[in-house]
């Protein structure tokens, strides 16, 4: 059995999981009188696929928003790569290498698929206003370099045919894929996925699962995902955090969590054999 408390270990299927890359310490988040997250701590290791599960309203999306820097917790600390993260604006968090997708699709509806995915590269594109007004030279070169990178991701996610389509016209499943492409374009160290399978049929879920596994395998990206489909969670993830009413009620491997009585009572229901 692999020792998951070691600094780094190798999983059964040969992937290397590294040390702790992000740690949430005693996070409490309140909105006025409502406590969305109550004293939650957990960590995410480099290269792993970490799932956050729980009933609706448990505070899972809020937790991702805390990681993104969009919500500032009233108590607790976020540690990234062994150092406490100072209070940052969301765009600064993005520049640290954290990218995400959103529960209710947050694509830029006025732009094409290609432009949307190119916005994922914004943290890497550095030419200034002056160079861009002239275009020829530095700006054009950077644009083409980044276009090449983006096209690789478009290939990877098989959305070549729709690259010039305005995003507003796409069906839900394709929009989700474009959002994933945008997040991948940022070449993130940590990828946050908020219900990437929501609203998909079995075939689409299989595709999406394959993409997620490929991303983790090929690029070594650490992934933290929120998901409701238990089958997906159990199959894909290395470790799982279970939340309910803002509290953590389980934390461990999928098997450990599946057999945890508190989790069963709150969420999984009674097992039928």
């Amino acid at each position: 059995m692999t020792d998951m408390t070691a600094d780094s270990y190798v999983t059964e299927d040969g992937r290397t999981i590294g040390g702790v890359v992000m740690e949430m310490k005693n996070i409490t988040l309140r909105f006025g009188g409502v406590v969305a997250i109550k004293d939650i701590s957990f960590d995410i290791r480099e290269g792993e696929i970490r799932a956050i599960i729980g009933p609706n309203g448990a505070g899972k999306s809020s937790m991702l928003n805390v990681i993104s820097g969009f919500y500032v917790p009233q108590e607790g600390e976020v540690w990234f790569h062994g150092a406490k993260r100072p209070k940052m604006k969301p765009f600064q968090v993005a520049r640290q290498g954290i990218a995400r997708t959103f529960q209710n699709i947050a694509l830029f509806e006025g732009m094409s698929v290609l432009d949307n995915v190119m916005t994922g590269r914004l943290t890497h594109m550095k030419t200034g206003l002056a160079a861009q007004s002239i275009w020829w030279g530095k700006a054009e070169k950077e644009e083409i370099e980044n276009r090449e990178k983006v096209e690789k991701i478009i290939d990877f996610l098989e959305i070549q045919a729709i690259r010039k389509t305005p995003v507003g016209r796409l069906p839900y499943g394709l929009k989700k894929r474009v959002e994933l492409a945008r997040a991948l374009a940022a070449e993130p160290k940590l990828l946050l996925l908020d219900e990437p399978m929501a609203g998909m049929n079995v075939e689409e879920k299989e595709d999406m699962s394959r993409f997620i596994l490929d991303v983790n395998d090929e690029y070594g990206t650490t992934i933290c995902l929120i998901e409701h489909d238990m089958g997906v969670v159990m199959d894909l993830s290395d470790r799982v955090v279970v939340m309910d009413y803002g509290k953590k009620i389980g934390d461990g491997t999928p098997d450990e969590v599946r057999n945890n009585q508190a989790v069963i009572d709150a969420y999984l229901g009674v097992a039928h054999d």
Binding site: S61, N65, F70, F102, N104, A106
Partner: protein, 328 residues
């Protein structure tokens, strides 16, 4: 009592009165915004149109006479009658209801799911259209509005304050009437919005069009109703302002002044429109009185906006508006 201080007090009281008039125009905005999420830039022009229609109906003017005369070479100007004020007001209110219905049919219905900014720009288009239309219909010359409202300085106030403070306040009767009317109107509107079935339906529509439809509320009916009420409010505002300074183009600019009122009070609050109006009214008169002489005067052109801007930076939703919570 030092004369300078009394003078300042008088300016303040006049400011309050002006504030009431601003609030009247702002009220119309709030109503429409509450019920349809539309920021009706045309509210000021609606007040102008209502006032012009009132005068036209009352004096028996022939609508579009200038146009008809130009095309047909005729010389018609008036029907020759003069109507009683209450009848003229009633007929004008009817015209405003017709207007509301037309706006609903030709504009609102077609822009149901568009973002708010598109609707706002549509009302700017409406304002321009209505202005040209009103001028075409009744002529662009200045008209006097006389429906029998008491005018002139109120003697009772003057003599009482003189006896009390040794300084007589000049408060116009018209302003007093306006304050009373505004108070009645606001109370009626608040009661309407809170306690009647239609008022509740209106608030439902303001929150969520689709949800309101799904519980059986007819969006069209509510919109026609709301724009009619706003039209009536515009009529009252038009009467008050028109009696005060004549019915002319500058009346529509009052609408622009109502905007900082709304920014202060919050776009969705009826009491906010009043409080905002009073603050702006007093604020700009006092500023002009105290600071104006040192910087060239005419600060009333911009003071209200700068005040609202500064206020907004610290409290983006205004005094009473709903706090904007953003979620992802």
């Amino acid at each position: 009592m030092p004369e300078q201080f009394m003078w300042a007090m008088e300016v303040m009281v006049n400011g309050l009165m002006t504030g009431v008039l601003y609030a009247l125009v702002a009220l119309g905005f709030v109503l429409i915004f509450k019920a349809s999420g539309v920021f009706n830039y045309a509210q000021g022009v609606m007040a102008l149109f209502a006032a012009m229609t009132l005068v036209g109906i009352q004096k028996g003017q022939v609508p579009f006479s200038h146009l008809i005369n130009t095309i047909f070479g005729t010389e018609i100007h008036g029907f020759g009658w003069e109507l009683a004020p209450w009848l003229a007001i009633l007929l004008t209110a009817g015209v405003m209801v017709l207007f509301a219905w037309l706006v609903q049919k030709f504009i609102l219905q077609h822009l149901v799911n568009q973002p708010d900014i598109i609707l706002f720009m549509a009302t700017i288009g409406l304002a321009y259209f209505l202005e040209g239309f009103a001028d075409l219909m009744w002529g662009a010359d200045i008209k006097t509005l006389d429906i029998g409202l008491p005018q002139g300085v109120n003697d009772w106030v003057e003599s009482t304050t003189y006896n009390l403070f040794g300084y007589g306040f000049f408060i116009d009767n018209l302003d007093i009437v306006a304050t009373v009317v505004a108070a009645l109107l606001v109370t009626a509107l608040i009661l309407f919005a809170q306690y009647t079935k239609q008022g509740r339906a209106m608030r439902a529509v303001a929150d969520d069009h689709q949800a309101a439809q799904s519980v059986g509320i007819s969006l069209r009916f509510i919109w026609v109703m709301v724009w009619s009420v706003a039209g009536f409010v515009a009529l009252v505002a038009g009467i008050m302002w028109g009696a005060k300074s004549g019915v002319q183009f500058s009346l529509s600019l009052i609408a622009l002044k109502a905007l900082p009122v709304l920014m202060l009070g919050g776009f969705t609050s009826i009491p906010g429109a009043i409080v905002g109006g009073l603050i702006i009214g007093v604020g700009e008169k006092l500023f002009e009185f105290l600071v104006g002489p040192y910087i060239g005067g005419a600060t009333e052109n911009w003071f209200a906006y700068v005040l609202a801007l500064i206020f907004l930076v610290f409290r983006p939703q205004g005094l009473f508006g709903e706090k904007i919570i953003e979620r992802v």
